[in-house]
Amino acid sequence: MFTGENIIQIVSGFLHWAYAQVGISALAGAIDPVISAIVMFGFISVFVMFLVWMERKVSAHMQSRIGPNRVGPFGLLQTVADAIKLTTKEDVKPVNRDKIPYFIAPIVAFVATFMGMVVIPFDKGMVVQDLNVGILYIIAITGFTVIAILTAGWSSNNKFALLGGFRSAAQIISYEVPLVLSVVPIIMITGTLSLSGIVEYQQQAGYWFIFPQIVAFIIFITSATAEANRAPFDIPEAESELIGGFHTEYSGVKFAMFFLGEYIAVVVSSAVAVTLFLGGWLPVAFLGFLHLPGFIWFLIKLVSVIYLVMAFRWTFPRLRVDQLMDFGWKVLIPLSILNILITASVWLLLYGKGAQ
């Protein structure tokens, strides 16, 4: 039976044998992370391509259409064709742009979200780097996207791009607060910031945190959708109001980087939701007889949560800016604070002091 841990052991055993053959065993500590990063990059690129295809299929079938079905089986290679088209496209740049920020912004947008994948545990032991402050790290690193978006909006020298950047800054800063506050009860219960530690706590406790923390789950998913700039919170790139928003002036590979960054943000926030609330790599209770490896369970849950986020996009109309601010500050933040209070009181009553 292959589990994630076995695969990692086999691969790392093979790699270390290969290092010894070439005579670079001393550098193993430096090469291993690079190889992990490359594997993660390959995985995320293929997965994002699948997600773009899935998004188009989901939206199509929700609107009684078919969606891409010409390139490859079921249109699966449509995204490859799109990627080839984007990379071979002329890179049109505004003349009066601010050159260095204009160049850096898409790179930051991509890297900031991609670095969040580092601490996601796909299976027991199947994680690039199991930081003991994993959640804090993810929240900090994905917060970088606002800098990228603001930089892109500013340096494009375009009023629509600038408006999009400003809106994005207001939105992401507002929704960062409920996002963090919705995670706090789980940290209080488990007493750890490590994502693997939280999954192991759920394994020992025998339940997933979505059951006691359904409010936190709803707040988290809502804020994560807003963080990823996706509809119904896509006011930074509202097509009908701001053309393309902050990426109005970007084309070709740079636009692809923003696009990739947006989808990786969806993957990261969904993966965090799966880890925190849906038990990560743990099997679904009533389907335990299937004996699938942990990372398969993780991917199934991940795709389900991503479907939910996609369903949000193709079901709900976009919020107005003032509605967005109202919703963030008047509904989500009070609710999440209330959730913290109630969780803390209940846990204190049930387990007394020193519940850890």
């Binding site: 259409r65 078919i66 709803i218 369903a311 949000f312 079901t315």
Partner: protein, 171 residues
Amino acid sequence: MGIFKYFKDIFSGLWSLLVGLSVTSKYFLNFKAVTTQQYPEERLPLPARSRSMIKLIYDGEKDQFNCVACLMCAKACPNSCIKLEGVRQVDGKRRMTTFKLDFSTCIFCGYCVEACGFDALTFVSEEYENAVYKRGSLLQDEHAMKWVRPAQPIAPEEQKKETVIPAVVGA
């Protein structure tokens, strides 16, 4: 009361969102709801009386066109896009020899079909891809417009209505 309204609003809002999600999910899971016609592979059959293309009816048994070159269609045509010639045969009956219809000026008004008293011109519904690469290709002669009526019409009533139109228009 304000605090009750606050929570009530949140719950009713959440409920309405769930209702919306259930509607879209229902359509997503119902793959038969797809209405897209994939045109080159799937073609919608047009109604039997749709005016897609004008054809000259060819009688396979007598091995000749029904047209007798009475010129009623050419006179009825508002754009003068029909040119035809006929000849009187040895048995005294007129027969069409050449027939030219310029589809680049034809507006598919149907006056020629109505004016025809010998069941020689008809609209067909099965041929509707009329685009061509050269403008000259739109000038069709009797060989291009030759059409044999199928032995069993798809909709007999519809076909019947078309064949009994009296030729009294425009004279």
